[in-house]
């Protein structure tokens, strides 16, 4: 049983701590010796070129992939070594926006958004409907509650998926490539929504992206990964990294400079 103190954000312990973690598939390490933490209320972006393992890091932090070594603590709980019950309890405190949205195709938007609620609260129909519609209105999808995911556009699907991730008012939010496949306007709107959530509710966020515009707009800190280095090559505020870093790999990334 997780004690209440462990689940509520405390200033002494960051909500996400990654300590000396190696990650990979089939025993082969893709990333080695990763260590970083995300402070409460902070927006951290994991960035890096394609194939450097950004999404792998995210997968391991949300407990879908066990690290080969090291440990990852979310709210003080090691997700790879905890019981299923505790894992479910910790996961209830966070929302995940998957790259393609991952809405369940057989359910309407309202049913998708109401899905996480069933485990937590037993609301009567009218209150549930209001709550779901308000969640959808947060992402400007009020009115579309009876649509199936197949009947709306890609950007709308992404926003609906965000509404589902927000259903339980998570204190931790994870995004996998939030702006992938979105037009610049929708993408900027999503960035603004992310900032608003962070400012109004103090939501801690870990975001995987390689969109520079988004990084400058939302990131408090960037964790930059590199495929060849098999790990972190820089951590810091994005503008500072761009202007001050001497590392040519960091410069290449922030100035969109092609290698060679």
């Amino acid at each position: 049983m997780v004690s209440q103190t462990a689940l509520s954000p405390s200033p002494s312990q960051p909500p996400i701590v990654v300590e000396g973690v190696s990650l990979g598939y089939g025993g082969k390490a893709l990333l080695e010796g990763l260590s970083f933490s995300v402070q409460s209320g902070e927006i951290v972006v994991i960035a890096g070129g394609s194939g450097c393992g950004k999404s792998t890091v995210l997968k391991s932090v949300i407990g879908l992939l066990k690290p080969l070594s090291g440990r990852i603590l979310v709210h003080g709980v090691d997700l790879a070594r905890t019981s299923d019950k505790e894992l479910a309890q910790v996961r209830r405190g966070f929302g995940v926006l998957f790259q393609s949205g991952a809405l369940l195709g057989s359910m309407t938007l309202a049913e998708n958004v109401a899905l996480p609620l069933a485990e937590v609260a037993h609301l009567d129909r009218s209150a549930l409907e209001l709550l779901v519609r308000l969640k959808l209105s947060l992402v400007d999808l009020d009115g579309f509650q009876d649509y199936l995911p197949a009947e709306i556009s890609g950007g709308m699907k992404k926003r609906a998926a965000l509404a589902r991730a927000l259903t339980l008012d998570p204190s931790l939010l994870f995004f996998d490539e939030p702006s992938a496949g979105l037009d610049p306007v929708t993408s900027a709107e999503l960035d603004r929504l992310i900032l608003r959530l962070n400012q109004t509710q103090g939501t801690t966020m870990l975001i995987v992206t390689h969109e520079l515009d988004s990084i400058y707009a939302i990131a408090h800190r960037v964790v930059l990964l590199d495929k060849a280095a098999k790990g972190i090559i820089a951590v810091g505020e994005p503008h500072r990294l761009r202007d001050d870093s001497r590392d040519p790999r960091v410069q290449e990334f922030f100035h969109r400079r092609p290698r060679n």
């Binding site: 209001l130 009115g143 008012d169």
Partner: protein, 382 residues
Amino acid sequence: MAMLHRHGAEEYRISLQGAPGGDQVLRLSGRLDLPATEHLLAQFRRVLAPTPPASLTVDLSGVEHLDSGGALALNLLSQRAAERQVPFKMEGLSPQAQQMLALMQPQRLGPPAPPPHPRSRNPVTNLGVGVLRLLADLGEVVGFVGSLARALALVARRPAILRWRDVELYMERVGVDGLPIVGLISFLLGLIMAFMSAIQLKTFGANIYVADLVAVAMVRELGPIMTAVLVAGRSGSAFAAEIGTMVVNEEVDALKVMGFNATVFLVLPKIVAALLMVPLLILFSDLLGIVGGMVIGVTYLNLTVYTYVQHTFSALSVPAITTGALKGLVFAFLIAGIGCQRGLTVSGGALGVGRATTAAVVAGIFLIVVADSIFAIVTYYL
């Protein structure tokens, strides 16, 4: 009224001060969150219900945590108070709680968007829509047969455009991988048939005719039908699911844009592989059915293997065997064709793929039985 509400580790406190019908203060503290929402709503209803207060002040200074559930409950309370013309105010709100309350205003909601497909409740309209859909479906099948004929003409002119390596792959999937299950089912079928008929035939001393019965039934009807049903279940469904998923992932569109004929690229290899393998599977099924019958003949009816085999051969004729295999060609075409056709018409993600797969198997088995009936009539008159 003062009470403590607990659920799990969290809790909130609620107390109401002031005389009923007078100025009342509702004090809330603790966690007003989603798990508590249902309970909060019920409590709030009681505050306003029998005798509404002259005014209501909600003191939230003791609230540690307010999430969307709690905010919605408070907003609904404020809305109900306004409906009853009770002056209402909230005190002791943190800026964060204020933001949350603003986000959870039911007044923000607009009317629902027009439904994507207007669904009528009128049975006559629905019948009409159903018939039109059926006709459109039929039209698609006819169109598919047309594109198949065209693809065959293309391949006949230039056989190299058919992907023979895919044909080999599907021959393995349909044929070789299907051998164990076709063999097992046919063997058991022969066994059961021989056993059931032996019980009857024994009473007339006609033991030896079990061999004839099993041979004729397997080769003429059961071998082809059982094999076809199994292939429909194994391969027809797989074809529909594979092509359907490719449609959903826009792979079929990509092929078309690259200048490939989707029918030649995706459909023909599967149909050709099925045409080549199903007749062979039927012969294999015939053989194992007869072996199954022989096991009963030898063990239960005390026939020798030699007599059994001899009787089997005398009961069979070459035309009977070739007709069985010929049926296989027709069944193979129907199963693979309908599987691919259902796959190509998929729309709407995982659900659509599931529907197409089911439709492929159901339509496949239906077509097998219809074709078999036609065969029965035609062979009778020939």
